[in-house]
Amino acid sequence: MRKFKEFIIEKLILLSGLTSIFFVVLIFLFLLKEGLSVFQIVTPCDFLFGKSWYPISEPAQLGILPLMMGSLIITLGATIISVPIGVACAVYIAEVAPSRIKEILKAGIELLAAIPSVVLGFIGMMTLVPWIKNVFHLPTGLTALSGSVMLAFMAMPTIVSIAEDALYSVPKSYKEGALALGATHWQTIYRIIVPAASSGILAAVMLGIGRVIGETMAVMMITGNAAVIPTSILQPVRTLTATIAAEMGEAVVGSEHYFALFAIGIVLFIISFIINVTSDLFLHRERK
């Protein structure tokens, strides 16, 4: 009887494991089937590097370069803002802060992670967007910069918590060894602890970037959604994700527009896949 129970439980667990893989494969196949159809209309090269996105004009122009540039500039901006602050925050929490402040900060970071992106987008629209408009004397505050700033807030919790874990798992002997040689606390941190945790910190940064690229709601609300190749961070841009979210409702099923949106999905899938694999490599390197 007991053996039979074991058998059932084992098979159930196996089934649950297989289910997740099964669905991933299904999703991927569906994405491929719908997305690849677009290449009957445009060549992959024209699709990826075409400079204009006018999906409902006659004939449709389906170049996603402006969208990719939009995603790229926002990701770059968000990374530049969030990585230094996030890593510095992790160092402070892991190495410097007294335990009380540490607890408060960690709770704060978790809270930041809990804010829904639509709320962040809404707050950004009401506060940051008018401010940027006034400061830079722009016709509109819905710019790549606004998107970058809000997305930096979203990437921060990921970066801080994973980088803090990495710093925390640096063996105590490194720290004591350096201190015992007469290194100051700061010398120990930047010469020993941070380099020893570097692969974990890189993984944290990669996962933060992954979060930014995949984000949709907030960017759609505050970046202006103009599908043109941006020349400055103070211009409205449109990202890959926002394009799918905004246009899927209007696209006629089976139209070239519809297929193009799925192809964008494939591009996004590949980008986040590459980012996740890279960060995984970094994490594994650290464990070794």
């Binding site: 335990s99 490194y174 060894g177 350096a178 201190l179 040689l181 007469g182 020993i192 020893a196």
Partner: protein, 272 residues
Amino acid sequence: MVNPVKNIKSDDVCNRNVPEKVSHGIKIDIHNLNIWFAENHALKNVSMQVFSHEILCAIGPANSGKTSFLRTINRLNSVLPNFKTTGAIVLDGQDITKMDVELLRKKVGMVFAMPSPLPLSVFDNVAYGARMSGIKNRNKLNAVVERSLQQAYLWQEIKDRLNESAFKLSGGQQQRLCIARTLAVEPDVILFDEPCSGLDPISTTKVEEAMLKLKESYTIILVTNNVKQAARVGNRTAFFLNGELIELDRTEKLFTAPSDQRTDGYIRGKFG
């Protein structure tokens, strides 16, 4: 309970018999040292003196406070939260709590129980301390690294492997690398915290040889779990039990005719 002050006095008497080389003068003077980790009273009213150019061994069972004692001398315990201490440790006439802590740790080097090389190359490990004190000149660094490795009896074995990662060395080599790293800072005192607990007998012998040689230029405090090691290398030996200093005497005396029966019991292996 043995009165620690009385202990020191009896020790002074004993020291008349100690060879000249050992009793050069007082290097570290410790008065009524108490330490607490939160509520745990880890060291109780310890007073003792450490002489220049001696190897002072500290023995005792686990949790007897000997490692805490060692880590108080270079103020490494002060990094921990909830650490409290009273009493005084005077190094060369100067209260260590009034010294700059980085300077203190340069004067009082430490070698840990487990070999703990930094995640750097062999060369960079040894050069770490020198670089920190601002030496950038490559020739000078080379000289410091070679001298330190030679003093730690490691140069011959690894002079061709200086650019390899320190983790590729064997355990015994890593431990001697840690000794070399400490020597490169040119300390006065070296604290050894059970340096051979993770090593095989041959590596242990090599580390002990290094210590005996180093005694000529440095003052050494050696915490060890291995009573025989204390007998082999110690000029004087201190026996700790439950945070108290039970007895401190010349090693031969302590091992042949201890004054306290608890010492006798520990040495004979009745407990601990």
